[in-house]
C-alpha cells in the first residue's frame, strides 16, 4: 500500500497535461525575467523605477502574489527591452533562386517553442536544386 506522500507525489506525476504545461511555462517565464534583469544588471527596485511603479507592486508581479496577465508581461517586456514570450507565427518563406538551374520552393517555418526562441529568430530558407 502506498503512503500518503507517495500518493501526493503521484498526483503531480499523473497531473493533466495542461497543469504540467502551466507550471513549466510559469517557470520558463520566471527564468526569462530574471535572466533579463541580470543582463540589464538591475534589481527589483530599479525595474519598478523603469516601469514607473511602486516596488511592492512589481514584487507582486514577479514574486507570485498574482498570476501574470498579458498586460503585465507587455509592461515588463517594454521595461526590459526584450521579448519575454514570443508567439510563433505560421508563415511561408519563399526561397530565392540564387543559382542557375535552381528552383525556388516554399516551406513552412517550424514553430519555435519558448525555449527555442533565440535559435529561431533568423528566417530559414531552403533551396532545392533542380
Amino acid at each position: 500500500m502506498s503512503t500518503i506522500l507517495e500518493q501526493f507525489k503521484a498526483m503531480g506525476e499523473n497531473a493533466p497535461k495542461h497543469v504540467d504545461i502551466y507550471v513549466e511555462k510559469s517557470m520558463d517565464i520566471l527564468d526569462r525575467i530574471h535572466d533579463l534583469m541580470e543582463e540589464e544588471d538591475i534589481n527589483q527596485r530599479q525595474l519598478a523605477e523603469r516601469l514607473g511603479k511602486k516596488e511592492t507592486e512589481v514584487s507582486r508581479w514577479i514574486n507570485g502574489v498574482q498570476n501574470f496577465t498579458l498586460k503585465t508581461l507587455c509592461r515588463l517586456e517594454e521595461a526590459l527591452g526584450q521579448d519575454i514570450i514570443k508567439v510563433p507565427k505560421k508563415r511561408h518563406v519563399i526561397a530565392r533562386f540564387i543559382s542557375s538551374g535552381g528552383t525556388a520552393t516554399k516551406m513552412k517555418q517550424s514553430k519555435p517553442t519558448v525555449k527555442a526562441r533565440e535559435t529561431n529568430e533568423v528566417d530559414t530558407m531552403e533551396l532545392m536544386a533542380a
Partner: protein, 163 residues
Amino acid sequence: MIATIEVLDTFNYSKVRFYTLKFEERHRTEFEDFVQRMMDNAMNAGNMTEISKWIEKIGQRGAEKHYFKHERAAEAIPLFYETEHPDSPFGIRLYAIRLSNSIVVLLNGDLKTADKAEDCENVKPHFRLANKVAKKLNDCLGDEIELRPKKIEFLHDDFHLEL
C-alpha cells in the same frame, strides 16, 4: 519543543533533495501532516495537484530563488495556480525553506484565507514556524550543519532544533 530534520526519500529528484521537520512528540512530520490534512478535503485536489507538480519541477530544474514566494526569512510554494480554489482566492500555501539550489526543507501549510499570512488563522502558525526554523537553521550554518550539493551535513550526531 525538540525537532529534527529528516530527508524526504519520496521526493529525491535529480537536482534537489527535499527535507522536512519532525517534532519529537508528534507522530507525523510537518510535511506529512500538511499533505494528510489537505488531501482529506476533496476541494483541495486541484491546488494539491499543482503543488505536487511544482515540487516535481523544482526537483528537476533546481531550486532557483525565483521559483519561490518570499515569506520573510522563509519561502512558500507555489508561485501561481492555474486552478482557483473553490473556498479562497489565495489557495493553499505550503511553507518551505530554500537552503540552496539543491536543498529545500518542506514544512507545513494550509488554505490561505487572507492577503497577509498574519491575518489568516489557518496559515499563521505555519508561517511563523517556517520563519522560526529558517532563522534557527541559518544560525546553525557552519557550526552545526554544512550544506553540500543535495545534502545537509550534520556535524553532530544528535543535531536537533529547540523551537
